[in-house]
């Protein structure tokens, strides 16, 4: 009986430790990376959002949530990534990614073999229903403005015609320390 009780204790401890890790991950991830899904051709909320269940047309990275390790090692580099940039139309498309509004220091990646990092183009036709991944590393300015959040857009463009097929807004938000009346910068 004692052995069974101890066995249950160790199982519960394992579950508890993973729960703690999961809770930590949940608390810091929104400040370190923006995960999203993106559909094309689409517009507005249909273009995508932070998950398939949350199509908002906007991805928000809450910088205040960054973990202590991230703040110590690499506080300014944020990843905005998607496992699924999906052709929801009915014709095959060749696509290119365009970004606008971000600080100049960005780096784009895809794990697709047809990815051309110079042109940011997937150099093959993507059939209806096909999806590719896309990562954008954004290096934020030294002091992201508290009152004016850094933001930008990720666009999917038809590489043949140049027509914009979808646009998703990304916002890096930082609340900063609470301001009180009398502070120099308080309104």
């Amino acid at each position: 009986m004692k052995k069974l009780g101890m066995g249950i204790f160790w199982v519960a401890l394992g579950i508890g430790l993973i729960f703690a890790l999961g809770a930590y991950s949940k608390s810091v991830a929104p400040g370190e990376r923006g995960s999203f899904v993106m559909f094309y051709p689409a517009s507005g909320a249909q273009a995508g959002g932070s998950s398939p269940r949350s199509l908002t047309g906007l991805v928000t990275v809450k910088l205040d949530s960054r973990g202590a390790i991230k703040r110590l090692v690499q506080p300014r580099v944020i990843q905005v990534s998607s496992h699924s940039v999906k052709n929801v139309g009915d014709t095959p498309r060749r696509i290119r990614f365009e970004t606008a509004g971000f600080p100049e220091d960005t780096e784009a990646h895809s794990r697709d073999r047809a990815w051309n990092p110079e042109t940011r183009e997937i150099e093959r036709d993507l059939a209806p229903g096909a999806a590719v991944d896309f990562d954008l590393l954004v290096t934020l300015p030294d002091q992201p403005a508290v009152s004016t959040p850094v933001s930008g857009t990720i666009g999917v463009v038809d590489a043949r015609t140049g027509k914009r097929l979808s646009t998703l807004a990304v916002r890096f938000q930082q609340a900063g320390p609470a301001q009180k009346a009398g502070d120099c910068c308080a309104p």
Binding site: G22, A29, G67
Partner: protein, 286 residues
Amino acid sequence: MPRSALATNRLKRLAVFAVGLVLFYAPFALLVRFFGLLFPASAAGTSVADAHGACLRMPLGWLAQPWMWASLGNNALYWLPIAVLPIAAVAAGPLFCGWLCPAGALPEYLSHAIPDRFKFDFKKHVDIVPLRYGFLAGILFVPFVASSVCCSFCNFTQMQNIVSAASGNLSGFAFFSSMGLLAAAVWVVPLGLFTKGGRGWCLFLCPAGTVMGLASWASARLPWFPRVRANASLCSGCGTCSDVCPMRAIDISESDERTVNDHLCVQCQDCVGTCPTGALEYRKPS
């Protein structure tokens, strides 16, 4: 003599781990490339070939993400960790862990550089098997209530980053997350260098290894399948086997066939050559 047999076995395993590295990890990833040639329209055919091609952690995480199940139809390679490796573990034990997995081998081999007196022996302080299954249960079910740690807390990704960097591709080190850094540190330092055997991550935080251990244990008593087994009549109780076991799977206090714990043993066979009386063999049940 037994110590030289141990060194020979470790060298043999190191050579096979190198094969595992070439099969699964970029820039080689030959197995992933082979599947890509067989199924050019699948994810294995269209994505960059690396360690993520044959991942078990992701399909486990998809228990809480049913919309991802379609990926199983789009990548035949996912069936390797989901079906082929557990079936192989039924037939011969978790040989993948003991002989082919470079992410398990790296901390194990690095830990040989640290004197044992500085290492923590989980076997002496923890009931490893239920804790291991507790971690697996957590990895499976915590995503329903908190964040999944399948991808963010992955040593395969860290290993891939190291191999890519060694081949000149530093992109894996362009971005660090708190969880990624924590995983890398825990994998190599407390659960690697400073764990007796060097395989603390394999013991607790690798769901693929735990699933294969379960498959191995469930089939170990069947008459057709070989495992590392002890012959109690030959055992002198010297404890050498237990001392060299990287998975802390041998308990010499029970001098019968249960001496080798089938939940944990990865069939590396370091113990077999080390035993001075030849009491351990990789064989079918007698």
